[in-house]
Amino acid sequence: MKKISIAIACMLFLMNITMMAQKKNEKVQKVVFNNIDTIKDKAITSPPFSEGIFPCSRCHLNHITNPQKRQLIIHDSISNMFNHDKENRWCLDCHDSKDRNYLRLASGKLLDFRESYKLCGQCHGDKLRDWKVGVHGKRTGKWNGNKQYYLCVNCHNPHSPRFKKLKPLPPPVKQGLRGY
């Protein structure tokens, strides 16, 4: 009986240690966020922030969080364009309510903005799969070496994701009309 109680005590002690270690890890991860991804040979472009907007905490640190859908005042352009499943979503479905410098997965895990593709991949899993193998989206660099990956948000505005139409460059000159 005594032996069993000692064993249980030991187990509890060990569990405690591992839990503490995990907590510590989380804290470190939250501050550093350097290990963006493990995909080899790939650099990921930076997210297209408007100038001077990041870090968000500069303004948001002391703001009271209001989760209500409403016309935004500072981010008016975002609430005007917003059409990413407008009926069902609002800011804090993707942005972390407590620390606006991070995005947040449904699981509660915080994400650096450079890892935003993981957030997109929560719903668009097939696109994420194709992006990782280089079929969806754009890569530049070397076909046999280091590549630069464009983030989802480099082409799709996350608040209004449909790819915007472009003005086409001029059509070719009709051959045979120019005296050649």
């Binding site: 754009k138 790819f163 472009l166 086409p168």
Partner: protein, 300 residues
């Protein structure tokens, strides 16, 4: 008697030939010496390393003088173990023609008369891929347009190219990495290859090519984007000056929708192999058995 006749004949022949040779030499001697070298230059495939180096040096000097900037002409051979392949996502292309002009700039195509190695065809969604319904002249304010999709064409880099087999001077051939190239110094401008190509991918310099000095790209390859002359045929080379350095072709890098994919068909880990193995893929005019290495696919 018989012998004497023969002797007379051969003497006459000798004098005749001598006069022709003298006239020819005089004509050539009036050219400057690099021009003379160029005239006597052998087929690129038969040249030694030393001969190639000399030709490259002469060309770099010639182009640098002509365009007023430092030129690099590479003769880098194919990388071992590569066979280039290309894939274009028809479900993504929006027909913006960014690729066409990136190609023109990168590959020093003549601006006037205009040569485009890439032609984007507007297709009718209801008709599918039907070249009789295709329109290259579309010019709306914005693309993509309702009811249409776009199919960019260029050299299909066939495994069985018909253009090379018809060339009477062997001025065009398929390289070990699969790129079909032209030696502009050996092209005589007969345009048989243009008649043989089922994809309209070859283009002829009807006049002296015209490129503004400030727009010329001085990073060139002998078999690719070095400046051309009047009377030669040219075509897409998968940006040989870039791809042999490990870079993506210019059209891949410019495409705003990421519809263009490029890589090594012999590398099972490459993007291009993933596409061939996992996506719905088609080639143009498959019934001709040209076996293109340019694939079209549907990403969604």
């Amino acid at each position: 008697m018989q012998q004497e006749n023969n002797a007379k004949k051969s003497r006459r022949d000798f004098i005749k030939k001598l006069s022709i040779v003298t006239a020819g030499t005089l004509a050539l001697a009036s050219c400057n010496s690099p021009g003379f070298d160029e005239f006597l230059q052998g087929n690129f495939k038969t040249l030694s390393k030393k001969e190639i180096d000399k030709i490259i040096k002469n060309l770099e000097k010639k182009y640098s003088t002509k365009y007023g900037k430092e030129f690099k002409v590479s003769a880098k051979p194919a990388i071992d173990g590569t066979l280039f392949g290309y894939a274009l996502d028809l479900s993504r292309c929006i027909g913006c023609r960014r690729c066409v002009y990136a190609c023109v700039g990168e590959n020093n195509q003549s601006r006037d008369p205009q040569i485009h190695w890439i032609e984007v065809l507007q297709m009718n969604k209801e008709k599918g891929i039907d070249f009789s319904e295709a329109n290259a002249q579309y010019n709306p304010d914005l693309v993509p347009e309702e009811g249409h999709f776009y199919l960019p064409t260029s050299c299909q880099q066939c495994r069985h190219p018909q253009c090379t087999t018809v060339c009477p001077t062997k001025a065009t051939w398929q390289e070990p990495d699969g790129i079909v190239v032209v030696d502009y110094n050996w092209c005589i401008g007969c345009r048989y290859c243009m008649a043989a190509c089922p994809y309209g991918a070859r283009h002829f310099n009807w006049a002296e090519p015209n490129i503004p000095d400030e727009e010329i790209n001085p990073e060139t390859h002998y078999l690719g984007n070095r400046p051309r002359i009047k009377g030669v045929v040219e075509k897409c080379t998968f940006c040989i000056q870039r791809s042999r350095e490990g870079k993506y072709p210019a059209c891949v890098e410019i495409c705003p929708v990421g519809a263009r994919k490029f890589g090594n068909l012999l590398d099972p880990e490459s993007e291009i192999r993933y596409i061939l193995e996992n996506k719905r893929v088609l080639i143009l005019k498959s019934e001709l058995n040209t076996q293109p290495k340019f694939y079209y696919f549907f990403g969604v």
